[in-house]
Amino acid sequence: MTGPSDPHPAAPLKVLLAKPGLDGHDRGLKVIAMALRAAGAEVVYLGMRKTVEQILTAAADEDVDVIGLSILSGAHLALGRSLLAERSEHGLDATPVVIGGTIPAADARTLVTLGAHVFPAGSNLDEVVAGVFAAAGRRQCGSGSGA
């Protein structure tokens, strides 16, 4: 964990969290936001009912390290695919995308093939947090290994 005694503090990992589309189930996204904060990350909480365009614009403006999405409406393939594809138009090709929610295994594999990191419903909270750090090539302990 990042702590005050850390000898080489890196800039905190900066994560944008949003719900694309019209889905309103924001329990998971808020829990992840609190867990990431507790692990020392800086969270830009964009909230729900955002278009792919709004999310990518905010990610570029805020210069975040990771984009985190939560989708429980079944629209994960369509929305995930378009966000991953449109990253380049915002100069975000290298920005990792982590997707959580109600995502069947076959769809999770598809999203992984397209370049996303996927944590379906039932994932362990600590593993999700570690996974977000790892997606950005950072270690959660804040030992200065980050980008």
Binding site: G21, L22, K30, V31, Y45, T51, A78, D126
Partner: protein
């Protein structure tokens, strides 16, 4: 003579435990824990304060209504699922709408692109609604509509669908959720700001109290706050605080409490802490009686008689070892029955992965049928009454919820508290605590943090798939209908709606005119957005 001191000594080393809502529980309860006039707190079934049930006969007369929530794709797709469920012995319908319909966007709207027909059925016009119930006689069915921000529009479409079947509004039975406060609080399909939203809720309730004597025009709901993470005490308090806010809104426009209160219905979750949940539901009836008589001076017994629908909890189900969810749902269904539910929905065991498959929906219905017809729990009314523990817990939940209602009153009531984002924060914090407790092993989830099956390969489920061309078909169909409608009738109905919405009279008659004229939900939604504006959630942090 029992030796209490010896007993206390024998149990004093036991570690303290709490209920799911954090209420400390003693190893044993006795008559000494149920003090005061218990008979007065209980009454009899069908009699104030209704702790033992809203009706004198309860399940001895007929079991609860088995109402599985269903809907997806187009109106024909959903109609086929409805027919299937009725053929399987389901006794009423419960319609799920897709997100564009819930949010007042037509299926062709850019924001609707990935969402048409996904979490429910897509309804763009009154014609779609008529097709949804094709061949299903609306004078013989009770229909529940999970719809909120656009509830007045959906009700107007439904009235026109009934009209085309030749069914008079007075014969329609069912429930419109029409509960916007819990949308701001937890479910999040709000559209308009709180003030116009409360007005639309009241328009529907007022219209129904004049025209729809068998229909529940609102279902005051704690379910979604519970699913979003709050505990049983908060669920009770949020529900009652919301019921108070709606009642004040209606009284504010000149209605007497006794004209609308008998048609208010309620909706609670039932989770896994069996006795706490049964006690919560018993406490809810007593609490509403206290509020209806004490705060609002109800004079008719029905005005203070709480009836509710119980949705079993999806948030307690797990993605891991999904068949275990059938057992969890059985316990939850039992809790709802021991709590005296009027209707129940049981979750599909696969819902942590996808919308429930037909197999999962059938098992959920069979779960209810087994509890109703094999377990024998329906033989006598309120069988837990008189249990020292359950009565103590009922009193405790009642007391704690009343204290929290006082606290919400101090914040200015439900509308002000929710407007300031206060209970939303309580819910998010509670959700985080639960997740932390599961992750750290303080809260047991079988198959997740205990009895984990490391050898399990990918779960094989027969998942439900919505066909990909639903949106295309739906857009084509709506375009065809728009082209075929009488344009001048539509335009004049919309102009009238605009005037009514701006000037504050009841929108329902104008909406029924729009529905008859073939105006679409997307067109009506856009008009109401232009009049009322849109709500943006305050930042949670």
């Amino acid at each position: 003579m029992p030796d209490r001191r010896a007993f206390d000594t024998a149990v004093e080393h036991l570690a303290p435990v709490v209920t799911d809502s954090g209420i400390p529980v003693a190893p044993l309860y006795t008559a000494a824990d149920v003090t005061g006039d218990l008979e007065a707190r209980l009454g009899l079934p069908g009699q104030p304060p209704f702790t033992r049930g809203p009706y004198p006969t309860m399940y001895r007369d007929q079991p609860w209504t088995m109402r599985q929530f269903a809907g997806f794709g187009s109106s024909e797709d959903a109609n086929a699922r409805f027919r299937y469920l009725l053929a399987q012995g389901q006794t009423a319908l419960s319609v799920a709408f897709d997100l564009p319909t819930q949010l007042g966007y037509g299926s062709a709207h850019p924001l609707a692109q990935a969402e048409v027909g996904r979490v429910g059925v897509a309804i763009d016009t009154a014609d779609d609604m008529a097709e949804l119930f094709d061949g299903l006689p609306l004078d013989h069915l009770s229909v529940n509509f999970t719809i909120n921000a656009t509830a007045p529009v959906i009700l107007a479409f439904y009235l026109v669908a009934a009209e085309r079947q030749g069914v008079a509004p007075t014969r329609l039975a069912g429930t419109l959720q029409n509960e916007i406060l819990k949308e701001f609080l937890a479910r999040k399909t709000y559209v308009f700001p709180p003030a116009p939203s409360m007005r639309l809720v009241a328009d529907v309730v007022e219209y129904a109290s004049e025209h729809l004597p068998r229909f529940n025009p609102i279902s005051v709901t704690g379910y979604h706050a519970r699913e979003a993470g709050c505990d049983a005490v908060q669920e009770l308090a949020f529900t009652m605080a919301s019921a108070i806010a709606y009642s004040e809104e209606l009284i504010g426009r000149g209605l007497s409490f006794d004209t609308f209160a008998p048609r208010l219905s309620f909706h609670f979750a039932t989770t896994l802490d069996l006795f706490e949940e049964a006690a919560k539901l018993r406490a809810a009836r007593r609490l509403w009686h206290e509020i209806a008589t004490g705060r609002f001076g109800a004079t008719r017994p029905e005005s203070a008689r709480l009836r509710f629908f119980s949705g079993c909890s999806g948030a307690t189900l797990t993605a891991q070892q999904p068949l275990n969810n059938i057992v969890r749902s059985t316990i939850q269904c039992l809790g709802a029955v021991l709590g005296g539910a009027q209707s129940i929905h049981v979750m599909g065991y696969d819902e942590a992965h996808e919308l429930p498959s037909e197999e999962a929906v059938t098992i959920a219905l069979r779960t209810q049928q087994i509890v109703a017809e094999e377990s024998g729990v329906t033989r006598t009314i309120d069988p837990l009454a008189g249990s020292y523990y359950v009565e103590w817990l009922t009193d405790e939940l009642h007391r704690r919820a009343r204290d929290l209602i006082d606290e919400i009153d101090q914040l200015g009531g439900a509308v002000a508290a929710i407007g300031a984002g206060v209970p939303q924060r309580w819910i998010a914090e509670a959700a985080y605590r639960i997740e932390r407790d599961i992750t750290d092993g303080r809260r047991v989830k079988v198959g997740v943090n205990r009895y984990v099956d490391d050898t399990a390969t990918e779960t094989q489920l027969r998942l439900f798939e919505v066909s990909d061309d639903v949106r295309e078909r739906q857009c084509e169909r709506t375009a065809r209908r728009v082209a075929a409608r009488d344009a001048s009738a539509h335009e004049s109905a919309m102009r009238n709606l605009d005037v009514v919405a701006r000037h504050g009279s009841n929108v329902m008659p104008a909406l029924v005119e729009c529905a008859r004229a073939g105006s679409t939900l997307g067109e009506i939604g856009a008009l109401l957005r232009s009049v009322f504006g849109e709500h943006e959630e305050p930042s949670p942090w």
